[in-house]
């Protein structure tokens, strides 16, 4: 009796390029994010949103509220608030606050799409560590959004600076060390806002694994539920993640301080990340 001899595997596979799974996942996502079409689209949308939101905000700025009531100086839509050192970037922060539900929906949709399209499964065939694949993706998205936020701040500042004279806003304090510090603080607030939104959106997207369900849940939660209940239930601003993030990006817009909001949000993000990782590891990845 004879048999065909099947020789052992002798071909040495090409060595993997350096870098851990997290770094490789980051690089893979970065390729997607930095395509020319993506960059052009992002730049265009960002310019429209930042410049448009700023233009609307500065045009609407008044010294007094309708009826003659004097507005609080910490509200960025007052002339007095815009003349503060941080007035140049205040309107971009306000615009981002308005964009909360949209941002959440976009991120939830992006995460859920990885599952509905089956691309997450395809990525796992290259890098089986699910947490690293997902962590790298989210890190790349947050990095990209941080760059976008920085660009948005600059566009918004330039728009405000160009329009300020026509609205009688004195911009002298914007170009000072205090102005730079205020801009840096606004940027840091925006990054915390983006990271918080990304972590919560990831959890929703992973659990839903469906674009319509995930986006629907995000919109209903961030829109009617948080705002209606938050308005009528006094602890709402202290416990609802959306309202807490609003306290971070637009300080003074809710009764909660930035420190308290950040502390509570950090706890939420840790829990959300843990749920997301557990769900990623335990669930089968099938279509």
């Amino acid at each position: 009796m004879t048999a065909t001899v099947i020789t052992p595997e002798t071909r040495v596979p090409a060595p993997a390029r350096p870098g851990g799974g997290l770094a490789r996942s980051f690089r893979a996502e970065w390729i997607k994010l930095t395509r020319r079409r993506m960059l052009t689209g992002t730049l265009l949308a960002l310019t429209v949103i930042a410049a448009g939101g700023t233009a609307i905000g500065i045009t609407a700025a008044r010294d007094t509220a309708p009826g003659g009531r004097v507005q609080a100086p910490d509200q960025p839509t007052t002339i007095a608030a815009l003349e503060h050192a941080g007035g140049g970037t205040a309107l971009f922060s306000q615009t981002m606050g308005f964009m909360q539900a949209f941002l959440l929906a976009v991120l939830v949709g992006a995460v859920a799409a990885e599952f509905t399209r089956g691309t997450f499964r395809t990525m796992l065939l290259q890098q089986p560590n699910r947490a690293r694949v997902f962590g790298g993706k989210i890190a790349a998205i947050v990095t990209f959004m941080a760059a976008a936020v920085l660009l948005g701040e600059i566009v918004s500042w330039l728009t405000s600076w160009a329009m300020a004279p026509s609205q009688g806003v004195d911009t002298t304090r914007w170009i000072t060390l205090d102005g730079l510090q205020a801009g840096a603080e606004d940027f840091a607030r925006a990054i915390a806002y983006v990271v918080g939104t990304a972590v919560l959106a990831s959890m929703v997207g992973i659990l839903a694994r469906s674009i319509p369900i995930g986006v629907g849940v995000a919109l209903v939660w961030a829109g009617p539920i948080e705002n209606i209940i938050g308005d009528s239930w006094s602890p709402g601003p202290k416990v609802f993640p959306g309202l807490l993030m609003r306290a971070v990006i637009n300080p003074g817009s809710t009764p909660v301080s930035t420190g308290q909001a950040l502390l509570t949000l950090t706890g939420y993000c840790i829990v959300a990340a843990a749920i997301a990782v557990i769900a990623l590891r335990r669930r089968d990845v099938t279509s």
């Binding site: 595997e9 071909r11 691309t119 990525m123 290259q126 890098q127």
Partner: protein
């Protein structure tokens, strides 16, 4: 030429596995690309894969066949770490199934269809995969050439035809020169030309000692490219071994078709009663010749039919193909 006897087609998985082990044991240099033992996956009360065992030597092109819902995709997903087995053990490229992070980088796979980013071009999608797997992206033009997409690599994936998507998916699986390729229904949804393209592609990539496991329910496709078979039904292995052995070598059969289709079952019973091994297809009977002479057997069958007043419209000779054998094993037949 293999001269190993085929395992009993209705043997238990353990016996099938033992037969495969005999094959492996005859040569000291043989090792398994895939080996699973008692692999089971249950979803609630539904068992998708039931105590599946088989052994796949390195260097073969293996067809993984079974009816829709037999558990082929679930098995492949378990081999790739996408689905966690409920029980059972196994190894892929010598590494336990529980450690997919160790062996998956050496495995190329296309499972449940080519799922890539529709807004990215073919080449960009391969760049993303190469980056994710830490593989050399310099090979991408070569791979696009291999799968016949060299001139379409700059087009968006969303604009590709299904056949082009499947080919790009195979190119993605080929990144990093994997030792093992696992392809799940790569011809699914393709027209005959697309099927032929994929078949030729599999034949091209199945070189240099690379092991290929390809699932399909299109048996003619499998028959043309595979030299090894794993047949499963309801999640259980019914055969694992050389394709030639499954087909029964070159054993000829006599095909018999009555003039009236209604006589097909009667004729089958008559031949079976005459001690013949008979398989029924929708329009004809396949009668095993065994050790006899084809012409004599054909004459005997003709005589039996004539004695019972059945007129034959066809009486011919053919070799068994995979479909005949598969239907016999999976669906059973009159013996």
């Amino acid at each position: 030429m293999r001269t190993v006897r085929a395992p009993d087609l209705h043997a238990t998985p353990t016996t099938v596995n033992a037969a495969a082990a005999i094959v492996a044991g005859m040569t000291t240099t043989t090792s398994s690309a895939i080996r699973v033992e008692g692999l089971t996956k249950s979803y609630g009360g539904r068992v998708a894969v039931d105590n599946l065992s088989f052994d796949l030597p390195r260097g073969v092109v293996a067809g993984f066949i079974g009816p829709n819902g037999a558990g082929k995709t679930t098995t492949m997903a378990m081999l790739l770490g996408l689905v966690e087995p409920s029980s059972g053990t196994g190894e892929v490229l010598g590494t336990p199934l529980a450690q997919p992070s160790t062996y998956v980088p050496q495995v190329g796979a296309l499972i449940e269809g080519p799922a890539l980013y529709p807004g990215l071009t073919g080449a960009e999608n391969l760049q993303v995969l190469a980056a994710m797997g830490g593989k050399d992206k310099a090979k991408i033009p070569e791979l696009l050439e291999l799968v016949g997409l060299a001139d379409r690599g700059g087009d968006r994936f969303g604009q590709y035809s299904l056949g082009m998507k499947q080919r790009l998916g195979i190119a993605g699986a080929m990144l990093g020169e994997p030792q093992l390729l696992i392809l799940d229904e790569p011809t699914n949804g393709l027209d005959p030309i697309g099927m032929r393209e994929i078949r030729e592609l599999i034949a091209r990539v199945a070189t240099e000692q690379r092991t290929v496991l390809v699932s399909s329910h299109l048996l003619t496709e499998i028959e043309q490219v595979c030299d090894w078979l794993v047949v499963i039904e309801r999640g259980t292995s019914v055969y694992a071994g050389p394709a030639g052995e499954f087909l029964g070598g070159a054993e000829p059969t006599v095909t018999v078709a009555p003039e009236r289709p209604a006589d097909l079952a009667t004729l089958a019973r008559l031949f079976a009663a005459d001690g013949r091994e008979v398989d029924i297809t929708p329009d004809r009977l396949l009668v095993a010749v065994g050790d006899g002479d084809v012409r004599i057997v054909a004459a005997q069958l003709n005589r039996v039919a004539h004695e019972h007043g059945i007129v034959l419209a066809e009486l011919g000779q053919r070799h068994r193909n995979l479909e005949d054998r598969y239907l016999k094993v999976v669906q059973g037949g009159i013996r």
